[in-house]
C-alpha cells in the first residue's frame, strides 16, 4: 500500500516529522542550491553559500530563543549521547583550570538530577569517565545523584525540597524533558515541580539536556545555564547535528587542563573551544542536517510566529490530548502514566490501554486511521504520542477523537 503525506499522522518520538514546506525546499536544494547548479550536500562547507546557511541558522536560533551574547552556539555531531561525555570532559577541564595553582586539587562532585532514562544514562557516563587513571589513584570526579524519581518509576518530578545539591559541584545536570515516560519540567518557574534554579549554589554551572523540548517553547532562565544542548531530531531538523549553547567563559583549552593533570583526556572533537574557535567548522560538518535545520528555523520564525506562536500551538495540542485522556481515564478505559499535571510533557504523551489485547486493538485501529509510531518505548511499553512542533493540531484532534471513541 502506498500513502501520501497528508494521509499520515506521524507521532514519532524522533526522528520526528518535519514541516512540509521545509522538505519541499530541501528536496530542491539537494539538486540545485540557489541556482548554483550544485546541490547543498556538494557545496564546500567553507564557501560563501554554506557560510550564509550556518550563520543564518545561528542568527535565527539566537533570535527565537533569545540567547544572550555571552553564549556561543555550536553545531556539533554525535547526538545527545556524545554530549553526556563532552559536558563532563569540558567542565572538568574548566574546573581544573580554575584551580590551576591548587597543589592538592581534589576531584569535584558532579550533581545529577535523574528523572528518567536519559538523565540516568548521562549519570552513568559520568561514573564511567570518573574511573581513576590507575587503581588506587584519585577518581577524576565524584558523581552524585542530587535528586531522583526512580522510586516513582520516573513518572513524576522531584519537588523543590527533594533536591540535595552539593555546595561546590563542578556542575549540576538535568534533562528538561524525558521522552520515554513523558515528564517535562514545567515552564512556570513558580510551580512546585519547576527546576529549582534558586537552590543551586551560586557559581555552580547548570547543564541542561534540552534535546526533546528544544524550540517547543521559550527556555526558562536561559541565563542561569552554563550549557544547554539538544540533538536536532525532535523540533529542529534531521538527526546528525547537535546544538550546544555554552557560556563563553567556559570555553577552555582542554590540553592545558590535561597538562595540569587530574582530568581525563579530551578528544579534540569534544573540546567546545575548538568548535567555537572554528565557528563549528573545525572539520566537515553535517551540512544537510544543518541546512534543513536552517530552513526549519526560518519557518518557525516567519510562518509560526516565533517561539510565542510555537509555544501557544504546543500548549493547545497538549491540552486537547490530555483532556481526552483524562476523560477516558475517568471512564476506566486507560491509564495516563504521568498523574501530576505540572510534570506532564507536552512533547511526549504516554498512556496505557487497560484490558487484555486492547492495546494491540488500539494500535491497529490507529494504524488504519493513518496514525503512525504510537507504540511506547520498548523499555516501558504502552502508548506514546509525541507532539513535536511539526505535528498539527488537526492530527492531535484526530487522535483525541479516536481515544474518545475507542
Amino acid at each position: 500500500m502506498s500513502f501520501a503525506r497528508d494521509q499520515i499522522h506521524n507521532f514519532a518520538a524522533g526522528p520526528s516529522p518535519l514541516p512540509q514546506p521545509v522538505l519541499e525546499k530541501a528536496a530542491q536544494g539537494l539538486l540545485n542550491y540557489d541556482g548554483t547548479g550544485i546541490g547543498v550536500c556538494e557545496l564546500s562547507h567553507r564557501g560563501k553559500e554554506f557560510k550564509a546557511i550556518i550563520e543564518g541558522a545561528e542568527a535565527n536560533l539566537r533570535k527565537l530563543l533569545e540567547i544572550p551574547d555571552n553564549y556561543a552556539v555550536l553545531f556539533s555531531q554525535g547526538g545527545g549521547t556524545t554530549q553526556f561525555s563532552s559536558v563532563f570532559l569540558n567542565l572538568l577541564a574548566y574546573r581544573r583550570l580554575q584551580h590551576a595553582n591548587d597543589a592538592d586539587y581534589a576531584p569535584p562532585t558532579v550533581d545529577y538530577v535523574v528523572t528518567g532514562s536519559w538523565s540516568s544514562k548521562a549519570y552513568q557516563e559520568a561514573v564511567r569517565l570518573s574511573i581513576p587513571p590507575a587503581p588506587g589513584a584519585k577518581p577524576f570526579a565524584e558523581p552524585r545523584i542530587a535528586a531522583t524519581t526512580k522510586p516513582a518509576k520516573f513518572t513524576t518530578l522531584p519537588k523543590a525540597d527533594e533536591y540535595d545539591f552539593s555546595p561546590e559541584a563542578a556542575y549540576v545536570y538535568y534533562c528538561e524533558n524525558e521522552t520515554i515516560n513523558g515528564v517535562e519540567f514545567p515552564a512556570d518557574t513558580q510551580s512546585p515541580y519547576a527546576f529549582p534554579f534558586d537552590r543551586v549554589p551560586e557559581g555552580v554551572p547548570i547543564v541542561a539536556d534540552y534535546s526533546s523540548s528544544f524550540l517547543s517553547r521559550p527556555i526558562p532562565k536561559i541565563e542561569r545555564h552554563a550549557i544547554i544542548y539538544a540533538g536536532a531530531q525532535k523540533n529542529l531538523g534531521p538527526p546528525g547535528v547537535t546544538i550546544v549553547i555554552v557560556r563563553k567563559d567556559l570555553l577552555v583549552d582542554t590540553t592545558e587542563a590535561m597538562k595540569l593533570g587530574g582530568v581525563p583526556a579530551v578528544p579534540i572533537q569534544s573540546e567546545f573551544k575548538t568548535l567555537a574557535d572554528n565557528k563549528s567548522l573545525y572539520n566537515t560538518p553535517p551540512v544537510f542536517s544543518i541546512y534543513v535545520s536552517a530552513l526549519v528555523l526560518e519557518y518557525l520564525l516567519n510562518e509560526r510566529n516565533g517561539i510565542a506562536g510555537i509555544a501557544e500551538a504546543n500548549a493547545a495540542k497538549g491540552e486537547a490530548l490530555y483532556a481526552a485522556l483524562d476523560e477516558a481515564e475517568a471512564n476506566g478505559k486507560l491509564r495516563v502514566v504521568v498523574k501530576e499535571k505540572d510534570a506532564r510533557s507536552l512533547m511526549n504523551v504516554t498512556f496505557v490501554i487497560e484490558g487484555e489485547g486492547r492495546e494491540k486493538e488500539f494500535l491497529e485501529g490507529g494504524e488504519a486511521r493513518g496514525f503512525r509510531q504510537l507504540k511506547g518505548h520498548r523499555s516501558v511499553g504502552g502508548i506514546r504520542a509525541s507532539l513535536y512542533n511539526a505535528v498539527t493540531l488537526d492530527s492531535v484532534k484526530a487522535l483525541a477523537e479516536y481515544i474518545k471513541s475507542f
Copy 2:
C-alpha cells in the same frame, strides 16, 4: 545568475559531487519514503524501513570492497577527525586488555606514517591524548613518526627502506590519500612507493585513514588491516557519517581497560564495541547521510559495474588529466606538484600555474566554463582538481582541454 546542474563541473575536494540519479531518488525519499507517507528523515531509526536501508548499505559495501566476515562495519559520526581520537583510544584499550595481568604495564609506542596534513593531525592527536594523567606520571602512549615526507613538503611518499617501525607498537597508522597535496599510496603493492605491509612487524595492527580514496578502487591487502575508516563526503555520500571497518577481535570493552588503569578515558560514543553491539544504532544515527550513502552504494554496484568499473573509470580520468598537465609542464606553463607518478593521487590532482596573475586568470577562465572549486587548499594555494567518483570523464576532458588551450 542561475545554473543548471549540467552546466557545472564540480571539482570540489569534499563535500564532493553526488550522482544525479541518487540525488533525484533522495529528493523523493525526503518527502515520502517508499510510499510510507513519511519522509526518510522522519522514519524511526529502529523501524523496519530504516533497518532495511542500513543493512542493505552494509551488505553492498561488503560486496563492493570484499570486506571479510571477521570485520565489523560501523556507521559512526564525527568525521575522520573524531577517528583520530577513537582509533587511539580503542587500540590502547585493546593493548591494555592484552596485557591485563602485566603488573608493570608500560605505555606502548604508536607508529605514525606522516605524509601530509591529515596524518600530521592524527599524529598530533595521539600526542595530545598521550599526556600523562598527572605531571610526572607515565604517559598513556609514546607516539612515534615511523616515516615522513615532511622534508619534501609532503609532495611524495616514503620508499620502503625509509620506514622505521618499532617492533611492538600498539599500532601503525597511515593515511592512504592526502587530499591537500594529492599524494596517494599506489594500488600496485609492488611499487617502491607502495605501503610496506611486509615491513610492519607481525601482529602489529595497521590502521588506515581511507577517507578520500574509499570506494575509488579496491583496497589493497584489506585483510592486513586492523581498522580502516572513511568519512563519507568524498565517494560515499553527504558528510555526517563515517564508516569504520574494524577487525572483530579488536572490539573491546573499554570500561574494563579503564579499570585496569594506564589508558585514557574513552567516551562511550567512541567505543567501537558499543557501536558494533548495537548495529550502529546505539543512539540516533545520521539517517539521511546513511540513506544517501545506501543509494550511492546501490548505484556503484548496479550502474557503475562495481569496484572494477569504478577503478577503471578513475584511472582513465587521472590519465587524461595528468597527461594534459605533464604536456603543459613540458611547455613551461605550469608545475605539477607531485612528480613521482606512483605517488600521484587519482582523487586530488594539484598543480601550480606559473607567471604573475596567471593563476587568477586560469581560475576565472575556468569559472566561465562552468568549472567550480578548483582553488587549492588555503594552506598551500595553487590549483586542485578533485576527481571523485561522481566527476565524469567528460568533465575531466573539458578541464584537460582547457589546460591545453590555456
